[in-house]
Symmetry: C2
Subunit: 699 residues, 2 copies
């Protein structure tokens, strides 16, 4: 991969003398932007291209280049790859279109090209891509107009984009926003080097501090997750734009890209699970990347301090902080008293409103920061200065005050938020501060610094996937709920006490033995939604009630689903009143078995209040999954109902995920609905379950 | 009010020779920024102030000024108001602090000052404010440093801010964003002219097209609502920042402002009800204001067209559009075919992805717009041009194409979205286009244009509050649920058939007469949460079951609430299975009786999935209230349950609101929980209700 992203020499195959043409641009860029190594234009018709000696073919180049840039029509590009492989070129970036994005013939051509490259030990970027760049090395193996007249400055942000158009847009935007770039890669058809490879390369790259990604769809779950885990292991924030979260967006994406996208909700879950920050706008993507670049610290705790010259904006930031999961703790009384002493008009709770008075006593800012960081023990601060940043003769005093605070309290990020003139802003940035103009954007950026700190911390905490004992094989087809629950019980998931009775009389006898109250349900592998056909009776309190309900259920089942195989009646203990959770497993086309969690019956579905994780995972991850749903507070003391057994619920989710991962693609789906979550210490039991093995066409 | 906002002459009382001092700044600004009328500095010690003839007192000024600016310590300010009133001055802007914001003595001083002004027929702005401005008239009756060196351009945005700091910030920001301003007002302590007055003035002002407001807390419900309705009647968008939506934000706001803020959720409801756009960030506030300013049309339908040179950004915009309630409809087949003919590589569904190819065939943009507006019948379009707006020689061709489309399809807004250089951007703006750099922000601005179009349309639709027949007076104290429901039935709200029985035997007899199944509930004015003490039995099917359940309920009630007055048992028909809604009325300290709506029992509370409106309102407003909750889809065909009777639900909400408004402050609260909403055409009936009259201390 170094041959591609940090080559010592570059050949441009299909090099044009016209610096505006696709084959001319990389020659022009490499030359003009100062690529240090030799550049070999390859052009059978012209001995000189843009002032450089050109060669008729790669085999005639004076030395073997590390990287070849290929700007030729598709069939010729394949030939060029063949020549490069023969010559021992390390890698190629292929601009050419006419491959898998067009039709199956193109896809076949592309597959042949990949075979040739693999055989020759060569890596390929593209085809149908806009190329790559390494700003530090002045390497511009691209034809994007975004680097024609201006270049981004060299820095620590690396960019990986599946889309050339979006990548090109980013290249201009980083420059306009003043971000420093290291590697920039567009992957196009991703025939060999794909999004995951490029992210992994940037994760290993010592000059990259933060990775910005644009993803339309992944194909290889394991390699994507490995790349994300690598970035996390290296403590490198990954900021991701993945479009298509809405129904209409997904449909538009489908028409825009042929890649099988998988469910957007699952991408979202994967990003949470592996600590990727998902940006929902270009602004957010660049804001978060900016905050993570440079030397600023992540935020190592939840406590946010806000200093402001406008009480209203202080409240606005506090609103935003709560929404993004940060605390804005009231300062301790003694700290508030200290602040009142130096600024009698100040709001001292936190947000600390120093009012316009600060302008007359600029040295008080440092005192304020001391109180916030020292007595207030905050983990990060946003200093909102409204228009004060425009006043150039105040900026130096403010900045040096903040610098001293930073020295005294290292490891706690400070974001400066003010309207500024470009030079004022640059001075703060040179001093290592992140500068925002808008208050809520500063808060969201701070929340992202907290997000990554949490994510990197998690990696240091052990959260093993539960070990499962030896499991029975999956059934061949549908089984009744008793068998389904028995299989889950093998994985250590709690189930209700229950038995199968063939007749109403047998059910009554079983209930007598079990003790009342009991639940009676139709037992059939062919009836999934039992209550929809009247196939469930709850809270039966005598043998007589059981017999009468049993007869009714059997009659209804035979009337409403005449073809169903009826195996009898399930007699189950009526679980102690608990909260009903839904646990599910489904197969995602990209990510394989995924686990779903929700609370509260039919409302869950109406509200789409569910969370997902890819299997398998440990109980700590399960708790985060539980914490994501809006109905979360039902698990705490709520309206007199005591706290539920969240440990048992998390354990059940983790065990279900291990079970799903164990069976992998052989499983189509599992529904545990409901899992009755008892009071704390009382466990959680599956009251009903459906397991559907994959059909014969499954792998 | 014209004396304040469009005075012909201004006196500055407490005028200072030092243009940096509070009393010197307005003199400096008025003089330097070209206020056309006479300026009378009032200063007993100096015959000349900043080169102008000064007068020892207002009584000695050569003529009576329309407006006096008062920059004196509090007690002297009161004296100055007295002198102004005596002289017949029309209005005063009072900078002075030391009034109600400090203590009760200050409040008394302020009240006296208001009395003096009222007696003299004079209006007051402030005290403790940063003043006002009228940019068109070069009137700067303010000491904000925001207009010291630079001025905003004159335009159609008016700004009303309760906070001086925020107002000052806005004054700088409008300038930096290039927005044109007409009136700017900070209201400070709002002793006379308050937020509502200033908004109403701007609504009437012919040079104002859009009003930007910053509100911390209202005091007078009726006047605020009148001002908002006036703006709506004049088709002037109101874009509002109201901070304190989070718990911590509300607490911080409480410590920041002494004003009784009322519940943030109610402000939110008021804004929706009266068509105010609530911005959640400064960016959003300015973006929406910008989109509403100038000559661009509102969006008169939901259909959004997206044209883009980046498929990915097209999808991103489609995602955002769905979230903000806009449609991105697929173009009809014949329209897609037309587009394919001119641009074979284009994505043609909508978003229309014209790809970078557009750059080579720039005239195709107009063809595209014709297809979108004509065949596609879209109501507004966003044209995302990525970095193309930076290429100055393309901009003119793009712009003139868009201009021709605008002429052909008037009344349909077009937002141009691209990175631009300042001059390129200015050219689009001069031509009347709104320009955004970020795609999601353009979508949100377009959604705001739709929001206001809907709001203005509503004003033209009749939605009368239901007429109620003559109602019984409210009870003196708590009453049992039967009486509560009887009161609601008077207002035309459906209730279940039910009767009160004193004993279990009487209950069984009543049930026999009513027919089974029945519900049995404890009847007591002292037990609000009946099910919490086991005071409810559902689905009883025989006299025996009724007797046994009745005995159990009476026993539990006497054990668990020994002091409760027990009136017997409610025997009610078991309502046909329906969806459970919660309807409530509460008193808001600012807005009086407000109505709440939610669906789905205890989960409603856990999820805070409720909507509010201030009473009274009509059924159409009730439907919008219903549409706001996340669980809304439970009312449609959902999982085989047929569509619910939404008309009946809306009618019940409107009638409850009329009932609440009728009783006004005499009512503490009403809970209708549940209201059983039957299938379409089957109505909705209250199955339980609590009415709590206000305590004796209520007005």
């Amino acid at each position: 991969m170094d041959a591609i992203f940090a080559p010592r020499s570059v050949a441009v195959i299909g090099a044009s003398s016209d610096p505006k043409r696709i084959g001319g641009r990389p020659v022009d860029f490499l030359k003009r932007h100062g690529f240090a190594g030799p550049i070999f234009p390859i052009n059978p018709k012209s001995p000189v291209v843009q002032g450089l000696t050109a060669y008729p073919s790669i085999s005639e180049a004076p030395e073997t280049p590390d990287l070849a840039v290929i700007a030729l029509p598709a069939p010729l590009a394949v030939k060029a790859v063949e020549d490069c492989a023969a010559r021992g070129v390390g890698g190629a970036v292929i601009f050419s279109s006419g491959f898998s994005e067009v039709d199956s013939a193109g896809a076949a051509l592309q597959a042949r090209m990949v075979d040739i490259a693999r055989e020759g030990g060569m890596r390929l970027v593209g085809p149908n891509c806009l190329g790559i760049a390494n700003v530090r090395h002045n390497l511009y193996a691209t034809f994007t107009p975004g680097v024609e007249t201006h270049l981004p400055r060299s820095g620590d942000v690396s960019i990986v984009s599946q889309s050339g158009a979006f990548g090109s847009y980013c290249m201009t935007l980083v420059r306009m926003r003043g971000l420093g770039v290291n590697i920039w890669a567009t992957t196009g058809n991703s025939c060999d080097v794909d999004f995951a490879d490029a992210v992994a390369y940037c994760a290993e790259d010592e000059n990259t501090r933060v990775i910005m990604g644009y993803l339309e769809g992944a194909t290889d779950r394991d390699r994507l997750i490995e790349a994300l885990e690598l970035a996390r292991a290296k403590s490198k924030p990954v900021v991701m734009m993945k479009v298509g979260r809405s129904a209409v967006g997904a449909e538009a994406a489908q028409s825009h890209t042929a890649s099988l996208a998988g469910s957007d909700a699952i991408y979202d879950a994967v990003f949470r699970q592996y600590g990727v920050y998902r940006a929902r706008s270009v602004d957010e993507m660049f804001d978060v990347t900016y905050a993570c670049s440079g030397s600023s610290s992540l935020m190592n705790g939840d406590r946010l301090g806000l200093v402001t010259v406008s009480g209203g904006v202080g409240v606005l930031m506090a609103d935003e902080a709560e929404e993004y999961g940060l605390e804005v703790p009231a300062l301790p009384d003694h700290a508030q008293k200290k602040l009142k002493e130096v600024l009698p008009f100040a709001g001292v709770r936190n947000p600390v409103d120093v009012t316009a008075q600060l302008v007359n006593q600029i040295d008080l800012l440092e005192t304020n920061m001391d109180v916030l960081f020292g007595d207030g023990d905050i983990d990060g601060a946003i200093i909102f200065m409204s228009t004060v940043g425009l006043v150039s003769d105040l900026n130096e005093a403010i900045r040096s005050g903040l610098e001293r605070s930073r020295e005294k309290y290292p490891g706690r990020p400070m974001l400066f938020c003010s309207l500024t003139e470009p030079e004022g802003r640059a001075a703060y940035e040179r001093s290592g501060f992140i500068v925002f103009e808008e208050a809520t954007r500063a808060v969201r950026a701070m929340a992202a610094l907290r997000y990554f700190a949490r994510s990197f911390q998690r990696l240091r905490e052990s959260d093993p996937v539960p070990d499962l004992p030896k499991l029975s094989p999956l059934p061949d087809g549908m089984v009744n709920e008793i068998k389904a629950k028995a299989l889950l019980a093998e994985a250590g998931i709690g189930i209700v006490r229950e038995t199968l009775a063939e007749t109403p009389d047998a059910a009554a006898a079983a209930a007598d033995e079990m003790g009342y109250p009991v639940v009676l349900k139709i037992a059939s592998p062919d009836i999934l939604h039992k209550s929809d056909i009247g196939g469930v009776a709850l809270n039966l309190r005598s043998a007589e009630e059981v017999r009468s309900a049993g007869a009714r259920i059997l009659k209804l089942a035979s009337e409403k689903v005449p073809d169903a195989r009826i195996e009898g009646l399930v007699v189950a203990e009526q679980a102690a009143p608990g909260l009903e959770a839904i646990l599910g497993v489904a197969q995602d086309p990209v990510f394989g078995p995924v686990v779903m969690f929700g609370l509260g019956g039919v409302l869950v579905e109406a509200l789409e209040d569910v969370s997902f994780r890819v299997a398998p995972f440990g109980p700590a991850e399960a708790r985060r999954m539980i914490d994501e749903i809006r109905a979360r507070k039902l698990l705490d003391d709520f309206r007199g109902v005591p706290k539920r057994d969240i440990d048992a619920l998390a354990e059940a989710l983790a065990r279900l995920s291990a079970y799903a991962a164990h069976h992998g693609a052989a499983l189509e789906s599992i529904d545990v609905n409901p899992l009755i979550v008892g009071a704390q210490g009382q466990g959680a039991v599956a009251a009903d379950a459906v397991i559907i093995p994959a059909g014969p066409e499954a792998p």
